[in-house]
Symmetry: C2
Amino acid sequence: TTKKVLMLPGDGIGPEVMRQVQRVMDWMAKKRNVNFEITEGLIGGASIDAHNNPLTDETLADAMAADAVLLGAVGGPKWDNLPFDIKPERGLLKIRKEMGLFANLRPALVFDALVGASTLKEDIVKGLDIMILRELTGGIYFGQPRGIEERDGVRFGFNTLVYSEPEVERIARVAFDMAMKRNKRLCSVDKANVLESTVLWREVVERVAKDFPEVEVSHMYVDNASMQLVRNPKQFDVMVTTNMFGDILSDCAAMLTGSLGMLPSASLGAADASGARKALYEPVHGSAPDIAGQDIANPLATILSFAMMLRYSFDMGDDATMIETAVQNVLKGGLRTADIMQPGMAKVSTTVMGESLINE
Amino acid sequence: TTKKVLMLPGDGIGPEVMRQVQRVMDWMAKKRNVNFEITEGLIGGASIDAHNNPLTDETLADAMAADAVLLGAVGGPKWDNLPFDIKPERGLLKIRKEMGLFANLRPALVFDALVGASTLKEDIVKGLDIMILRELTGGIYFGQPRGIEERDGVRFGFNTLVYSEPEVERIARVAFDMAMKRNKRLCSVDKANVLESTVLWREVVERVAKDFPEVEVSHMYVDNASMQLVRNPKQFDVMVTTNMFGDILSDCAAMLTGSLGMLPSASLGAADASGARKALYEPVHGSAPDIAGQDIANPLATILSFAMMLRYSFDMGDDATMIETAVQNVLKGGLRTADIMQPGMAKVSTTVMGESLINE
Ligand SMILES: CC(C)[C@H](C(=O)O)[C@@H](O)C(=O)O
Ligand SMILES: CC(C)[C@H](C(=O)O)[C@@H](O)C(=O)O
């Protein structure tokens, strides 16, 4: 069967890292007989430049029609001073919301070969392997009412943090499923001592927990979680949290690894009757406009995002593992892009890294 | 003149660390001729046990009448399962709000003698000295409407993140003043690419910046800030942010130092006509119920909170520095409480640490 993939290279280094994924896909089409039907589209700044809109209805329709979407990165200084409503970020938020991608999977993984890249001591991060599950279509990112208004001559800015029981329940179920496939430990992060919205969150997680008696559940306040990630990150297996807390904690966890250029992510929707889910995959790193176009960016996070696509959208776990192993091996072989360069290693370009991965 | 201090030991290790401060105060009364008038009160679990209320009107009145309040710590498993409305935390939130303590100063400081206690590599944290300024009486902690409600058969939990211009302006002014007294660099942390409330925040900070042309201002999204704290914390001098982001980031920054038992904090109100401000000082660490009553807790964070009191409430900067230097010297001398114990050092009790500090 044909696998319809929409590629959205986006801005900055997006297009060049995407090109390396394209080569991996070509290789898979030839050598593994996988039939990809690839469409390309614009998002973020690239789409603003072409259409004055960070995400057109046409691209959105393509995304809805695709089996999976692969995104590069969006944003850059060129579009930073645009008004709030038409910034590149709006495109990203809109595609997440419209596709219903409520479950954001953000692994924080330390590759053995790169343990030295972390700012943390080796014994604290060696072997680190956390999966952070961030709720992605609710919470304060999308809550109404929101805006800036004047009342009695004073201007106020306001946003609404809101979660319904079904919203919490569906992300909790994904989290417990994930924990069952991993080490059966789930930590739910909230601020239930201050925020009623997360009192409800905790309540629902507790209820869902009853359906997963094998999973050891804990609850942690978000301030403590940010401490514990720094103090002893290996205490965690799966973490699940709100959109805003997940934004902050997953970036913190990503940085613990010291190699942001290596981290993929997946954003999944609900399964339909046939078991298929809408899905978007993207590297955790940004568009890095300062190094764009120089063929020095690290393509591995995007390639690993593609591996997640194989695993979660196409049930091709073995092929995903093959790519992940190839990444490990390329690193073991001593190849490094500039961002993860270490003394004694061989510094290579984006293109050479892609090529070496394919040879591997 | 008499300095009226209200002591609120609170729960867990609160009372025993407070006792050591009391000794320092006695010493100052005798040797430095400072006239403290000390009252004691209950807060948190201790107050719930006595009055079924985490903060009585009487204690609040005492706090309002005091020149400064020193708090130990609140909370513990004993009160964890109480309903949201009467938990120990409510007492803390209420005293902050009623006293108008909008400016929370949270230094993250690495003591040379303790640099090894950090989970981060020595070169990343040696000499670290950040001041995080957290807005403390607004934002999502106090915004209305809030609660849990049922609409059309579905339960929702909701909170409101709201900031008015004057609220942002007053915390921004404190931040710029602070930056002027330090290294003249201020980083304001927001999520202005997603939250309108922080679009306003950024706008106001930009406007206040015009009155402080010597301060170099930057703006950072909160997710990036949590990364940058881990990647290279020494890039920061003063950081200013909202109540919720400040809760998360200041705890993350505190943990970077590896010695939570060493960190003080101050919460300040607006200056009145005479220049006096309401103020509350407390250690960053919690009530640590697991080690309470064993005379092993570290009293230094509370003693350093008292030093902040001398500096910010009583204009006794020299005496504050004297205490801070004594703390450095005691550490250099090799004394350690259990929480900061290192090989080759002498492990001492809470009481001995207090005594040694006074001798110093
Ligand atoms: C660009 C921004 C809107 C986005 C977010 O906050 O979700 C980004 O930080 C992310 O984590 O993917
Ligand atoms: C106990 C809790 C309500 C409090 C807060 O969230 O402000 C604490 O975490 C703190 O930072 O002082």
